[in-house]
């Protein structure tokens, strides 16, 4: 599963990345987690609020740290 966290480097973006990493570990799901910090690349996804989460090329979340339950749902698919 390819997961990207979009964000310009604020605290919430770092928290999002850490949280996804943690949930993936707990669930034993193998993920390729990357952080997209370049603003041009972020805008290419069409999101306006960060942090945003992209899974396999699809934006699933934008604006704010996602909840643990939400992340678990994404990983289950």
């Amino acid at each position: 599963m390819d997961i990207k966290v979009l964000g310009t480097g604020c605290a919430n973006c770092k928290n999002t990345l850490a949280l996804i990493d943690q949930v993936a570990r707990d669930k034993g799901v193998a993920v390729a987690l990357t952080k997209v910090e370049d603003i041009k690349d972020i805008m290419a996804y069409g999101v306006m609020s960060t942090p945003a989460v992209v899974i396999n090329g699809k934006v699933v979340h934008a604006g704010g740290v996602p909840s643990r339950e939400k992340i678990a749902q994404w990983l289950m698919v």
Binding site: T8, C10, I39, I42, M43, V47, M48, S49, G63, G64
Partner: protein, 332 residues
């Protein structure tokens, strides 16, 4: 629903208990209530829980309201409108649209890309951080509703007029080239199904995120405020932040620029200054400047704006704030 009603009643009951509780707490300490320390402690023990409770309540409600106004929907509302009325709308939407300063750049580009005029985008960008529920709640809690309303009205006016002025200046050429060259896109949005339970959940999430983040600032602010309350002599501030000193307003605005804190940290301090004789206009100008004109935000915006446009933005907003300060000091 039932849960919400119970929560509201519990909240009100607790809120009314605060002042007697603070008095009782200070009375148990071996300190004279009328001494400097006693006054400072009473202020600290009463105002801290009061402000935190108000904030929790308001942030919860705003969290629910915010779930109706995502940035995507706001953009769809503003796209394609002509200036003037759209500036007013953008500034007003700035109050209810959730906004974090780290989102300023993507938001800015997203707006411009969807055809929201530059001046309207600025109206939103000025209003969103400056006129928000945290600032208004603190003003209400510490100064009363009149000052809170004045701040709301003036903050909106600065955002509307400054955005409109920037629009008139036709600065589109001063966007960074890559922003101008980005493909235009439509501003449609797709809201999905949001239930009341989701909105309540959004309210709790907002409390966790916002109150969780600002409480140390409020605590520190009130602690400093309490010291000023207890120890700084009455009318001490009047000499250099008072109404007679005309230069105090520009000085307050200048001082505010390099300061980087949010409304939460600055308002308790400002309140204490006010009690000690600082003029309201000067104090409001200082607050607006700290929140709306921050150096770190300008550095972030530099990624999308050329220096001239940033300078224009800062100058126009500074003029607006100066005007607010002077008018207030003259009228009140």
């Amino acid at each position: 629903m039932a849960f919400l009603a119970v929560a509201i009643i519990a909240w009100l009951a607790l809120y009314n208990l605060l002042n007697p509780a603070a008095e009782a707490l200070v009375a148990t300490l071996p300190i004279d209530r009328n001494s400097h320390l006693g006054g400072a402690l009473q202020f600290f023990f009463y105002d801290t829980p009061k402000v935190l409770m108000l904030l929790t309540g308001v942030v919860f409600v705003m969290g629910m309201i915010n779930s109706y106004f995502t940035p995507e929907r706001t953009r769809a509302l503003l796209a394609g409108r002509s200036e003037g009325a759209a500036n007013v709308m953008a500034a007003t939407l700035g109050i209810v649209t959730p906004f974090c300063s780290c989102s300023a750049v993507p938001l800015f580009i997203g707006f411009v890309q969807a055809g929201v005029p530059l001046g309207v985008t600025f109206s939103f960008l000025i209003s969103a951080p400056m006129v928000n529920e945290v600032a208004l709640t603190l003003l209400f809690g510490l100064f009363g509703w009149k000052v809170a309303l004045l701040y709301l009205g003036l903050g909106l006016s600065v955002a509307i007029v400054a955005g409109w002025t920037i629009g008139r200046l036709k600065m589109e050429a001063h966007l960074e080239d890559w922003v101008r060259d980005m493909p235009k896109m439509s501003a449609g949005f797709d809201a999905g199904q949001v239930t009341l339970a989701d909105r309540v959940e959004a309210g709790f999430a907002a409390v966790r995120q916002i109150v969780g983040k600002v409480w140390p600032y409020i605590l520190a602010g009130i602690a400093i405020g309490a010291v000023i309350h207890g120890y700084v002599p009455q009318d001490f501030m009047a000499s250099f932040m008072g109404r007679e000193a005309w230069w105090s307003v520009p000085l307050a605005v200048l001082l505010g620029v390099p300061m980087y804190t949010n409304a939460a940290g600055i308002i308790p301090i400002v309140q204490a200054l006010l009690v000690k004789g600082a003029a309201l206009g000067t104090v409001l100008a200082f607050m607006m400047s700290v929140i709306a004109l921050s150096l770190p935000e300008m550095i972030i915006l530099r990624k999308v704006l050329k220096v001239r446009l940033i300078a224009t933005f800062a100058a126009v907003v500074a003029c607006g704030i100066l005007l607010v300060g002077f008018v207030f000091n003259a009228v009140l």
